[in-house]
C-alpha cells in the first residue's frame, strides 16, 4: 500500500512541486513590483511583503495539514472504521478566531498605508498632467509649460504629483517599479503621487483594458538628477529646432558630462531580503545625462537598459524603399502643409497646432514612438508614417504610404515619407 501510494500520489505531486519552483526562478525581472524605487514603493513593498509572508505561512500550514490527513487517514487494508465525530465547538471557534486575528495584523498596516499613500501631495510637488488617449500617453508639465508624449522625466528626490485624466475610454497608469496603478476615468481627475529615489529608466504600462491596442500602450520613465531634469525641461520648453542638421548620435558624448553632479541613489533601496520569485533587482546603472549639450539634454541612449528598448518586430509585409534618403528641409516644407498638422502640434510651426495626436515638438529627442512599442529611429519612423495601422492594430493615425491597402488612400511616396521622417528625427 505504501509503495502503491507513493506511485500514485507522491510522484506526480513532487514533479509538480519541482516545476512550480522553476516558475519562481526567473532571475531577470526588470518590471518587478518589488523594486520599490520610490517612497510609494517602499510603503507598498513592506505591506506586500507582510502579506506574502503571512500568506506563505498559511499556505504551508494548510497544505501540509491536507497532505498529512490524506496519508494518515487513507483507507487501509484492515478496513479501519472511521472515528465518528461531527463537530467540535472549541475547534470551530478557534479556527474562526485565529484567522480573524491574522487579518487584524493585516488590516492595521493596510489602513495606515491607505491614508499615507492617499494623502494630498505636498504643495512643492512637481505637477504632471497625464492624459490617456487610445493608445498613447500625453504628459504635460504645467509648471514648465511642456507637453510631451510617451516619455516622462522625473527628478529624483522630488515628489511628482500626477493628475490623471483621459480623452476617451478608461486607462490605468502603472510604473511597476515606482508606483501602483491609478485609473484614468473619463470626466474625473484622479491623483497619485510618489517620490522616486533612484535615477534610472523604467517601463510604464496601461493596465486597464482600453480596446484594440491596449497591449501596445506603453511609456518610458526616466528618473534623473534634479539638475538634469531642469536642463531637460529647459530644452523641452524651447521651440522646435526646425530643419537644423541632424544632431550627432545622442549620447555619443557622454564624457562631456563632467562637472554635473554624479547621480546617486538618494535612498538605498529596500533591504537585501527578497521574497520568493524575486531573485535580483535589475542592475541599477548610474547613467549621467549629457546636460551641457542643450540641444538634446535627454537620457543617454547608450545607457538605456535593454528592457526599455522595444523589440516589437515590424510587420513582414510592410517594406520601405531602401534607396530613399530623407532630406529634413524638404520634409519640413512638406510637413507644414501635410495632413499631419491636423492632429499634431509642433511648437514654432504656426500651421501645426493639432491636438489629437502626440505633440511632436521634440519628437527626435524621444527614445520610442507609437506608444512606446518601437524604437525611435529613421527606419521605424518611416514605416510608421507609411502604414501606422499595420504597425499598431487599431491605430487612429491613418496610413500615408501610396499603394498601401487600408481604409484611407495613401498620399505619399517612400521618398516623401523619408523626407518627413528625416525632418521629425531632426526635432531633437
Amino acid at each position: 500500500m505504501t509503495r502503491d501510494l507513493r506511485m500514485r500520489w507522491l510522484t506526480p505531486a513532487l514533479a509538480l512541486l519541482l516545476v512550480l519552483s522553476l516558475s519562481a526562478c526567473t532571475s531577470f525581472t526588470p518590471n518587478s513590483i518589488f523594486g520599490a524605487h520610490s517612497q510609494f514603493g517602499h510603503s507598498v513593498d513592506s505591506l506586500t511583503r507582510k502579506l506574502v509572508v503571512l500568506g506563505a505561512i498559511v499556505f504551508v500550514l494548510v497544505e501540509t495539514l491536507i497532505v498529512f490527513i490524506l496519508v494518515k487517514f487513507r483507507e487501509r487494508d484492515g478496513n479501519r472504521e472511521a472515528k465518528q465525530f461531527h463537530g467540535n465547538a472549541t475547534l470551530e471557534i478557534a479556527w474562526t478566531l485565529i484567522p480573524a486575528i491574522i487579518l487584524a495584523f493585516i488590516a492595521v498596516p493596510t489602513i495606515k498605508t491607505i491614508f499615507e499613500t492617499e494623502a494630498k501631495a505636498p504643495p512643492s510637488a512637481l505637477q504632471v498632467e497625464v492624459i490617456g488617449h487610445q493608445w498613447w500617453w500625453e504628459f504635460r508639465y504645467p509648471q514648465y509649460g511642456i507637453t510631451t508624449a510617451n516619455e516622462l522625466y522625473l527628478p529624483v528626490g522630488r515628489t511628482a504629483n500626477f493628475a490623471l485624466t483621459t480623452k476617451d475610454v478608461l486607462h490605468s497608469f502603472w510604473i511597476p517599479q515606482l508606483d501602483g496603478k491609478r485609473d484614468l476615468i473619463s470626466n474625473h481627475t484622479n491623483y497619485i503621487w510618489f517620490t522616486p529615489d533612484s535615477a534610472f529608466a523604467w517601463n510604464g504600462f496601461c493596465a486597464e483594458y482600453c480596446g484594440t491596442s491596449h497591449a501596445n500602450m506603453h511609456f518610458k520613465v526616466f528618473t534623473v538628477a534634479p539638475a538634469e531634469f531642469d536642463a531637460w525641461a529647459a530644452h523641452q520648453k524651447t521651440n522646435a529646432v526646425g530643419s537644423a542638421p541632424p544632431a550627432p548620435a545622442p549620447g555619443a558624448a557622454t564624457d562631456s558630462a563632467k562637472g554635473t553632479p554624479p547621480v546617486t541613489k538618494i535612498a538605498t533601496s529596500v533591504g537585501t531580503t527578497t521574497p520568493a520569485g524575486e531573485v535580483a533587482k535589475p542592475p541599477v546603472a548610474t547613467p549621467v545625462m549629457n546636460v551641457s549639450d542643450t540641444t538634446s539634454a535627454t537620457y543617454p541612449r547608450n545607457k538605456l537598459p535593454e528592457w526599455v528598448i522595444p523589440k516589437t518586430p515590424t510587420p513582414a509585409a510592410l517594406t520601405f524603399d531602401a534607396s530613399a534618403t530623407g532630406d529634413a528641409t524638404r520634409g519640413m516644407t512638406l510637413f507644414r502643409t501635410a495632413p499631419c498638422i491636423a492632429c499634431h502640434a509642433i511648437r514654432g510651426v504656426p500651421t501645426a497646432q493639432g491636438i489629437v495626436g502626440p505633440n511632436l515638438t521634440h519628437v527626435g529627442s524621444r527614445t520610442t514612438i507609437a506608444g512606446g512599442i518601437y524604437p525611435n529611429d529613421l527606419h521605424h519612423l518611416e514605416l510608421w508614417i507609411k502604414n501606422a495601422p499595420a504597425m499598431k492594430p487599431g491605430s487612429l493615425m491613418p496610413l500615408f504610404g501610396k499603394a498601401e491597402k487600408g481604409d484611407t488612400p495613401g498620399l505619399y511616396t517612400d521618398q516623401q515619407i523619408a523626407d518627413l521622417a528625416a525632418y521629425l528625427s531632426s526635432l531633437k
Binding site: 507598498v44 470551530e92 493596510t110 496603478k181 492594430p393
Partner: protein, 652 residues
C-alpha cells in the same frame, strides 16, 4: 466498487410514455432530470468551446510578440473565454446539478414549476447560441467580460460586437432569474416530511443560498445592461461621456452584481464537495450547522465587498478602507469552510475515488486562491496587483481550482445516478492528475508574471521583460489540461456503454437520492420518504456513522419505500434496495401504473423561449421593428397557450 458485484449487463429501462427517446421527448420534456441533463450537456459543450478559446490565448502568449492571432481576435477570445466560462459553463453546470439533485435530495417528484424550468433551459440555450453566433458575423464581443463603459458605448464600439454581448447577457439573465425563483419555491415548499431545514443536504443548502444571490444580483446587472442597451440603441446618455456621464456608474452596478456572482459560481461547488467528502471519509460532515451559517454569511458579506474590484479608480481612503475590511471579513467564513472539510476528513477512512480526488483538489487549490484573495484585499498592495497577471492567477485558482474542481467531483460522484453506470476510475485518475498538474502549471507561474509587472488582457508582450519563461510554463500547463479533458470526454462517453452498472447506491451515500434506482424513474420516489435525520440512508445502512448526529423522534424513523398500490411489490424492500443494490434486477413501474400524476410534456415553454429570443434577434438586426413586434406577439400567444393548459392530466 464493493456494491456492484454480479450485476446485470445493463441498467433497467423504464417503459413509460415520458421515457420514450427521440427528439420530441427532449424538446417537450418537463422532467427536472432531463432538463438537468440538457443543462449538463450544453454546458459541457461550452466548456470545450471556452477551453478552445483558452488554448488559443495560451498559444498566442507562449512567446513574446506572438502573432498566432491578431490583436482584434485576441480581444474577442479573452472576452468570450471569460463570458463563456462564467455564464455558459460554471453557472449552467451548477444549474444542471440544481435541476437533477434538488428534487432528489429533498424527496420531491419534480421542481415547483416544471414548465418554467424547461423555459429557463431553452432561454439559456438560446442566449448561449445568440452570444456565440457573433463569431459568424466576425463581431464577437471584445470589451472583456466586465464590459467597462465607455469602451462599450457606441462611439468606442460601433460594431455589432457589444450588441451581441449586451443582449446575450440579458437573455441569460432571464434564464437565471426564472430558475432562481423556481428553485427557491421548490426548496421551501416541496421538502419531504421530516426534512427540516437543518436536515437538508448541504448541496441543497448551498443551492438554496445561491438562488437568493441570483435573484438579488441579476436584477442589478440587468439594470446596468439595460441602460447600456438604451444608450447603444436609443441614444440615451447613461454612460455617454461626451454628455458628461460618470463611467463609474457602470463599474458600481457591474461589480455589485459581479462580486456576488463570484459566490454564485463557487457555492454550488462547495455544496458538491460537502456531499463527496463525508461519503468517502465515512464520516458525517464536520460542523454541519457552521457550514450552513458560513455559507449564508459568505452570501451576505458578498454583497458588501464589490468595490474591492475598484481600488484603482480613486474612491478615496474611507471607501478603500471600508471595502478592504469587509473583504478581509469574508475570508473568515471561507476559512471556516476549509477547516471544516479538513475536520470531516480527520479521523476518517478516506477512499480516493476520482470524485474524492477532485473534492480534495478543491480544498487544496481554493486555499491558494483564498490566500491571494486576502493579499489584494489590502488596497495599497492591490494597486500593484490589480489588472496584472497576479489577478488572473488568483481567480483561476478560485474558479478553476475551486468551482471546476468541485463540479468535476460532482460529475464523477453523480454520473452513476444520472446514467446508471460508473465512470471509469482509471481514466478518471488520469483526468484528475493531468488537470491538477496542468492547472497548477498554467496558473501558478501567473502569480509571478503579475508580480513581475505583466498587465492583464494584453494580446502581446515584448521580448526581454522577464516574462518568457513563466509564459512558456503556463502554455505547457494548458496542454496538460487539454489532454486531461480528452480523457474526461473519452471516459464520459465510453462509460455510458461499458461502465459498471451502478445500482442504487454505488458509493454508500447518505442522502435520499441514493435510495432510488439509477437513473431514477420519472417520478423519483414511489412513496415520498419520511426523513428523520441529515443522513437518512446511513441511518438504515450504517447506523454507526450517524450515531452522534441529531435525530428526530423514534416513531418517525422508518423510511417508506414501498410502492404505492404495488405492495406485493416489484421493487425490493427498502433494506434490500439499500444494502445490496442490484441483487435483484428491479422492474420499475411507470408513473401511470403507480397512479402518480406527473406533469404533461409540453412544447410551449420552448415556443415561448424561441419567440422571446426572436424579439432580441429583431433588436440586433438594427432594431427591425416588424420582427420585434411579430416575435412579441408570438411570445404573448405562447404564454397564453402555456398558461391555459393544465400542468397535469386530469386527476382520476
Amino acid at each position: 466498487m464493493a456494491t456492484t458485484v454480479s450485476l446485470p449487463p445493463t441498467p433497467y429501462t423504464v417503459t413509460s410514455d415520458k421515457y420514450e427517446s427521440g427528439i420530441w421527448s427532449w424538446l417537450s420534456t418537463t422532467d427536472h432530470k432531463r432538463i438537468g441533463q440538457l443543462y449538463l450537456y450544453t454546458s459541457l459543450f461550452w466548456f470545450l468551446v471556452g477551453g478552445l478559446e483558452a488554448g488559443m490565448i495560451r498559444t498566442q502568449l507562449y512567446g513574446p510578440n506572438g502573432h498566432f492571432v491578431s490583436a482584434t481576435t485576441y480581444n474577442e477570445l479573452f472576452t468570450m473565454h471569460g463570458t463563456t466560462m462564467i455564464f455558459l459553463v460554471i453557472m449552467p453546470l451548477s444549474a444542471a446539478f440544481f435541476n437533477f439533485l434538488i428534487p432528489l435530495q429533498i424527496g420531491a417528484r419534480d421542481v415547483a414549476f416544471p414548465r418554467l424550468n424547461a423555459f429557463s433551459y431553452w432561454v439559456f440555450l438560446f442566449g448561449g447560441l445568440f452570444i456565440n453566433a457573433s463569431w459568424f458575423f466576425h463581431a464577437a464581443p471584445n470589451a472583456g467580460w466586465f464590459g467597462y463603459a465607455p469602451l462599450t458605448t457606441r462611439p468606442y464600439s460601433p460594431g455589432l460586437n457589444i450588441d451581441f454581448w449586451v443582449i446575450g447577457l440579458q437573455i441569460l439573465g432571464i434564464s437565471s432569474l426564472a430558475a432562481g425563483f423556481n428553485f427557491i419555491t421548490t426548496i421551501i415548499n416541496m421538502r419531504a416530511p421530516g426534512m427540516h431545514f437543518m436536515r437538508m443536504p448541504v448541496f441543497t443548502w448551498m443551492a438554496f443560498i445561491t438562488q437568493f444571490m441570483i435573484i438579488l444580483a441579476f436584477p442589478i446587472v440587468t439594470v446596468a445592461l439595460t441602460l447600456l442597451m438604451l444608450d447603444r440603441f436609443f441614444g440615451t446618455n447613461f454612460y455617454e461621456i461626451s454628455a458628461g456621464a460618470d463611467p463609474l456608474l457602470w463599474q458600481h452596478l457591474f461589480w455589485l452584481f459581479g462580486h456576488p456572482e463570484v459566490y454564485i459560481l463557487i457555492l454550488p461547488a462547495f455544496g458538491l464537495v460537502s456531499e463527496v467528502l463525508p461519503v468517502f471519509s465515512r464520516k458525517p460532515l464536520f460542523g454541519y450547522p457552521v457550514m450552513i451559517y458560513s455559507g449564508i454569511l459568505i452570501a451576505f458579506l458578498g454583497f458588501g465587498v464589490w468595490a474591492h474590484h475598484m481600488f484603482a479608480v480613486g474612491m478615496g481612503p474611507i471607501a478603500d478602507s471600508f471595502f478592504s475590511i469587509t473583504t478581509m471579513l469574508i475570508a473568515i467564513p471561507t476559512g471556516v469552510k476549509i477547516f471544516n472539510w479538513l475536520g470531516t476528513m480527520w479521523g476518517g477512512s478516506l477512499r480516493f475515488t476520482t470524485a474524492m480526488k477532485f473534492a480534495i483538489g478543491l480544498v487544496a487549490l481554493f486555499t491558494i486562491g483564498g490566500i491571494s484573495g486576502v493579499m489584494h484585499a489590502s488596497p495599497p498592495s492591490d494597486l500593484q496587483q490589480t489588472d496584472s497577471y497576479f489577478i488572473v492567477a488568483h481567480f483561476h485558482y478560485v474558479l478553476f481550482g475551486g468551482s471546476m474542481m468541485g463540479l468535476f467531483a460532482g460529475l464523477y460522484f453523480f454520473y452513476p445516478k444520472i446514467t446508471g453506470r460508473l465512470m471509469g476510475e482509471k481514466a478518471g485518475s488520469w483526468h484528475f492528475w493531468l488537470t491538477f498538474i496542468g492547472m497548477n502549471l498554467t496558473f501558478f507561474p501567473m502569480h509571478f508574471l503579475g508580480l513581475h509587472g505583466m498587465p492583464r488582457r494584453i494580446s502581446t508582450y515584448d521580448a526581454g521583460q522577464g516574462w518568457e519563461q513563466d509564459n512558456h510554463l503556463a502554455s505547457y500547463g494548458a496542454i496538460l489540461i487539454v489532454v486531461g479533458t480528452c480523457f474526461f470526454v473519452y471516459n464520459w462517453f465510453r462509460s455510458m456503454k461499458t461502465g459498471k452498472v451502478a445500482g442504487n447506491d454505488p458509493w454508500g451515500g447518505a442522502t435520499l437520492e441514493w435510495m432510488i434506482p439509477s437513473p431514477p424513474p420519472d417520478y423519483n420516489f414511489a412513496t415520498i420518504p419520511n426523513v428523520t435525520s441529515r443522513y437518512p440512508l446511513w441511518d438504515r445502512k450504517s447506523p454507526k456513522l450517524t450515531a452522534e448526529v441529531p435525530h428526530g423522534s423514534a416513531d418517525e424513523s422508518k423510511i417508506e419505500v414501498e410502492l404505492m398500490g404495488q405492495k406485493t411489490g416489484t421493487l425490493p424492500a427498502p433494506s434490500d434496495t439499500i444494502g445490496n443494490a442490484a441483487s435483484a434486477q428491479p422492474v420499475i413501474s411507470s408513473a401511470k401504473q403507480l397512479g402518480i400524476v406527473m406533469p404533461t410534456p409540453t412544447i410551449r415553454p420552448l415556443l415561448a423561449a424561441l419567440s422571446l429570443g426572436s424579439v432580441f434577434i429583431g433588436l440586433i438586426l438594427h432594431k427591425n421593428l416588424p420582427i420585434m413586434f411579430l416575435a412579441a406577439i408570438c411570445f404573448v400567444l405562447s404564454l397564453y397557450s402555456w398558461l391555459l393548459t393544465p400542468l397535469e392530466p386530469e386527476h382520476h
